[in-house]
Symmetry: C2
Subunit: 180 residues, 2 copies
């Protein structure tokens, strides 16, 4: 195979709202010479997700209604990265806000694109071991959430039962458990 990158000939913003959602319509040149007049790119704020375990190996999970999957869900701590914030700092901040936990043993599980074609956002996945409670949770989020500490085996069983509906959380859980 020769050169594969696509060339963006022009881009036009066709939608933007006050929550950081932007839709761009691009005109794209393919390596074989074809031109695609309308290839859409979606931009949303990037976020962090944290697989945090306590000293005794339990996983910090949140049970809350999520409007994306439209059901009460098991989730991992995480949230949007603030403007100018480093993803690793956002991960520490979100873990503390949502669970009251702090850790000195952080690892990166990887940063991944949500949409293979449209981009959408980057999910930065982290693990944090030996997390300890340093304050009460205070997420400031719209969701009413309950902190639950589940064993890794229980977490994997809940993933298989469909009770962790959000794909980035499942990726973090599976990657963290592959590393053990």
């Amino acid at each position: 195979m020769g050169r594969q990158d696509w060339t963006v000939i022009s881009a036009e913003e066709v939608y933007r709202n006050d929550k950081g959602l932007i839709v761009n319509r691009e005109k794209v040149l393919l390596p074989d010479g074809r031109t695609i007049p309308h290839f859409y790119q979606v931009q949303m704020p990037s976020h962090v997700t944290v697989y945090a375990t306590t000293r005794d190996g339990m996983v910090a999970c949140l049970r809350q209604y999520k409007h994306g999957p439209r059901k009460v869900s098991l989730t991992l701590p995480g949230g949007l990265i603030d403007a100018g914030e480093d993803p690793a700092e956002a991960a520490k901040r979100e873990l503390l806000e949502e669970t009251g936990l702090s850790s000195n043993e952080w690892a990166r599980l990887g940063s991944f694109t949500l949409g293979g074609n449209q981009g959408i956002a980057t999910a930065h996945l982290f693990s944090a071991a030996c997390a300890e409670e340093v304050r009460a949770p205070d997420s400031g989020d719209l969701e009413e959430m309950a902190l639950e500490f589940l064993s890794p085996e229980r977490v994997l069983a809940e993933v298989r039962s469909g009770n962790f509906p959000i794909i980035g959380h499942v990726a973090a859980i599976a990657l963290a458990n592959l590393r053990d």
Copy 2:
């Protein structure tokens, strides 16, 4: 905790394009009585991703430029579900189109929401074992793609190196390898 579901009071479509991307602006009532006037939901077509292994345990991977992450990427076979198509049928069709492989040993790895807050799309993840070549690949996609058969260990190493940039592919790879 009491009742947690949010109630959608009204919804207004604020953007739609010819590729199935829809943005809805909802007015939402929270369980604590607060009203959120602008909560955005994004709808994009749902898709399938397939972790397919051959009789000798090699994983069918595609190397191709992806415009979402904007780089030449390792990916798994998959694609959009056609109108009215069952996700399991779409998985068989996409595997055949993109790799020429067919399998009689399918399993569901799960169906997950891309966006915890905005919904966006559902990724249906499958595994297929003992896949055999039954024809030449012919994806019909815009991307020029090369089929490569990698060992599971190599696939996991490539995930850790960031060479599988798309989160749904990583989730499928990690889930499939947890099951082994």
